[in-house]
């Protein structure tokens, strides 16, 4: 390895740190009235962990890791579908006053 090469881990760490800052500023701009939908939508998007489950469940041959993967897919799918659907349901209820 060259002395100047940067371990890819460092790049990922950099992305992680920057994403925390993005999250910090974005979440402070969320109106308190929408904190419950914020929780349900963060729940749904954190289930992007399903990508890891898909890779585990991907191979054709049956093995232990594939079973773990399939269970994880089902669990994450409950969250993804449930989280986005319930967020949608809640957001549809927030209405402005009808004037006039």
């Amino acid at each position: 390895m060259e002395a100047t090469a940067v371990d890819p881990f460092v790049f990922r760490l950099a992305i992680f740190v920057l994403a925390i800052f993005v999250g910090y500023y974005v979440v402070w701009s969320v109106t308190p009235a929408l904190h419950t939908p914020l929780m349900s939508v963060t729940n749904a998007i954190s289930s992007v962990i399903i990508v890891g489950a898909l890779i585990a469940a991907g191979p054709g041959e049956f093995e232990l890791s594939k079973i773990f993967g399939l269970i994880a897919i089902a669990l994450a799918a409950v969250n993804i579908f449930g989280g986005f659907a319930v967020t949608h349901r809640m957001l549809a209820m927030y209405k402005k006053k009808e004037r006039g």
Partner: protein, 463 residues
């Protein structure tokens, strides 16, 4: 699909997730934000499905359909008042999924490209995997306890015993020791011991926390579920997962901070627990001092003749499912020419924003609902403050009495209103076990009844 193309697709998904959160800055943009979130998820899933090595589409589709159908069904059926339980349940699923994905990566590192030349798990991946597994397992079991407390399956009272903190500390140290052993020697027994003890840890750290501190607990578990996802993201070298985990982790952390600040408690005092059951253990004997009690007709008369009414809802409204009757009450008053607005304290209810969702469910326009600092100066020019199911967040002792356990907590200054109508089932103190001097003031009228029944009766009296 090349690895570079996939990596770019994951970046796009991450950007869409950021936009989903950004949308929540206002109710109008939030609906579009949810669509961005869904788009990001679809991109992430399709990209992964197109990865070479993912070939068993039938089984994957079956798992997706089963989980998706169940999730959609629950989301359509759930009562808005039960939202805290639902969110807790969803957190537990993220935690369990994280543990399962870590286990899958442990048993088949080659599929994720994280095996070293000898086919064993790379060292740095072991550390990341340990973190993801431990946090995931704690999130899973901790959320189950939170769910059980919120759902009323177990008592919401804190469960404390002598030596608890020491026991938890020891458990934590053992888990760290096992994680180190796992990183040195990748034996499945270390992996499962680590996961198993972390499950135990999740139970142990949430049981001492009382029901009324659940807004902090739910936010904290939200944060944990994000950090678990990020840990797994590092293991799998997946940027979408790392970014999302960081977003969710910081989101939950900020919410925890806001909740703690709104209770004037330090995060550590909440985590150490022992405070805030559903029913106060030993409140001071009430009933010695005279209170003025009134009936629905009195309340209706007072409010009808008022110029300005501020409604202060709390957890009691959620329990009684009184939001619809309350909105009807508000509408009738507005029809009489009374100016009606709603004041929401950040920790009213069992999760951040709980009251806002319930009021929205009852079709209260969101521009009539105000936050603490937006509305607090209005009370002094208000004729009637109608407090329904809230207690500690209105207790003037928090502002005036340095001896009070509540002292320093920001409160809604309902006592500044000309008249306070306080709907409550009895004189029992709030969760903090502190008597509310507001009950005994001359300008306070207590309305002893269930929140929903009282609203219904006032509506009848107004009609």
């Amino acid at each position: 699909m090349t690895a570079n193309f996939a990596a770019l697709a994951y970046v796009l998904a991450s950007v869409l997730f950021i936009m989903a959160l950004r949308g929540l800055s206002g109710p109008e943009t939030a609906r579009m934000g949810n669509v961005y979130g869904i788009a990001g998820m679809v991109i992430a899933i399709l990209t992964t499905l197109a990865t070479p090595g993912v070939v068993s589409y039938a089984e994957i589709l079956a798992a997706l359909v089963i989980g998706g159908a169940l999730g959609t069904f629950i989301a359509q059926r759930i009562e808005m008042a039960s939202m805290p339980q639902l969110v807790a349940a969803f957190h537990s699923l993220v935690g369990l999924a994280a543990v399962l994905v870590a286990a899958a990566a442990f048993y088949n590192p080659a599929a994720y490209g994280i095996a070293d030349a000898a086919g064993a798990l790379k060292f740095v991946s072991r550390i990341e995997m340990s973190l993801g597994t431990i946090i995931g397992a704690i999130t899973f079991s901790g959320s189950i306890v939170a769910f059980a407390k919120l759902q009323g399956l177990v008592s919401g009272n804190p469960v404390v015993f002598p030596g608890q903190h020491l026991a938890n500390l020891l458990l934590g140290l053992v888990i760290i020791a096992i994680a180190v052993a796992f990183c040195m020697d990748v034996d499945p027994r270390w992996f499962w011991a680590m996961a198993g003890l972390a499950f135990l840890m999740g139970f142990a750290i949430i049981i001492p926390i009382g029901g009324a501190d659940m807004p902090v607990v739910i936010s904290m578990l939200n944060s944990y579920s994000g950090w678990a996802a990020a840990g797994i993201g590092f293991t799998l070298e997946n940027t979408a997962l790392i970014v999302t985990g960081a977003l969710v982790g910081s989101s939950g952390a900020i919410l925890s901070y806001i909740m703690c600040k709104a209770m004037n408690r330090s995060f550590f005092s909440v985590i150490l627990g022992g405070f805030g059951g559903d029913t106060a253990a030993a409140g001071p004997a009430a009933g010695e001092k005279p209170v003025k009690a009134g009936a629905a007709e009195d309340a209706a008369f007072i409010m009808k003749n008022a110029g300005k009414v501020i409604i202060v809802p709390g957890y009691g409204m959620a329990v009684a499912q009184a939001q619809h009757a309350l909105r009807e009450l508000g509408d009738l008053l507005q029809a009489e020419g009374v100016e009606v607005s709603y004041a929401v304290h950040p920790v009213a209810g069992r999760m951040p924003g709980h009251m806002n969702v319930l009021l929205a469910e009852a079709s209260v326009p969101y521009d009539e609902v105000f936050e603490l600092d937006q509305i607090n100066s209005e009370f002094r020019t208000t004729d009637v403050a109608f407090v329904i199911g809230a207690n500690d967040v209105t207790n003037p002792a928090a502002r005036d009495d340095p001896q009070s356990p509540l002292y320093g907590m920001p409160i809604l200054d309902v006592d500044k209103a000309r008249t306070v109508l306080f709907v409550k089932r009895s004189l029992s103190p709030g969760y903090a076990g502190v008597d509310n001097e507001l009950f005994y003031r001359d300008n306070t009228m207590m309305l002893f009844a269930d929140a929903k029944k009282m609203c219904d009766d006032i509506v009848k009296a107004l009609g």
